[in-house]
């Protein structure tokens, strides 16, 4: 799968709900597979575990929710 198309559907769903989720689940991790929102989790490990109990590794999105997408600077 091309890198730029990876998680395209999941990211579209995420962006459509980002503002709402940033208020209801700030800084939490959301797990999305296709059009299904699996759940919201405070810790990355718990989110990953929840996704792996339903889906194969590498097939679902685990993304932390911020109102604005951060750009991580590396010096």
């Amino acid at each position: 799968m091309l890198a730029q198309s990876r998680f395209q559907n999941e990211l579209q769903l995420f962006e459509a709900n980002r503002e709402k989720w940033a208020h209801s689940h700030p800084a939490q991790y959301v797990v999305i597979h296709g059009k299904e929102v699996v759940g919201f989790y405070a810790e990355f490990e718990n989110a990953l575990d929840a996704g792996l109990r339903k889906f194969e590794r590498g097939t679902f999105l685990v993304k932390q929710i911020f109102e604005k997408e951060p750009v991580y600077a590396i010096y």
Binding site: A3, F7, E45, L48, R57, L61, V62, P70, V71, Y72
Partner: protein, 148 residues
């Protein structure tokens, strides 16, 4: 308190920086999921890392991520000085630090190309927030301490 001292090597901190070897592999939840389904995942692989207080998050090169058997769980934006802003994968991983330091069983690490060819990983402030790092320039000693 656990304490790890990198080998005393006068002068190396100037030339190389706070470099340490870590082992990186699939995360603990992925290992547990593999066990449940009777599959096996790669063992952690050695990765050359540098402690980087300038990195908000821990970073790994895409090549090292592939070598370590990591899979992407997300995408994010990264600004690399000298490289500009790019969108890259975020991988789930387990990082095994040198004994007696603990293991991070699951961390989301960002993939980005790095410009020092021998360095494959930057240990960022997401990990450093759990450590006390002593950087002794005159003696060349680097020590890492963490609470048990």
């Amino acid at each position: 308190m656990r304490r790890y001292e990198l080998p005393l090597h006068r002068g190396s901190l100037l030339d190389i920086g706070p470099e340490l070897a870590v082992n990186v592999g699939p995360s603990r939840p992925e290992l547990e999921a593999a066990n449940r389904s009777g599959k096996t995942l790669p063992d952690p692989q050695r990765v050359n890392a540098v402690i980087d207080t300038g990195a908000r998050r821990t970073v790994i090169t895409p090549q090292a991520a592939q070598r370590c058997g990591l899979l992407a769980v997300s995408r994010t934006k990264v600004f690399v000085v000298g490289g500009g802003e790019v969108t890259g994968d975020v991988f789930s991983a387990r990082i095994v630090f040198p004994s007696p330091l603990g293991t991070w069983p699951a961390i989301d690490i960002v993939a980005a190309n790095l410009f020092a060819s021998r360095i494959e990983c930057l240990i960022g402030r997401d990990v450093l927030r759990r450590w006390i790092v002593t950087y002794d320039g005159p003696s060349g000693l680097l020590a890492i301490e963490e609470h048990e």
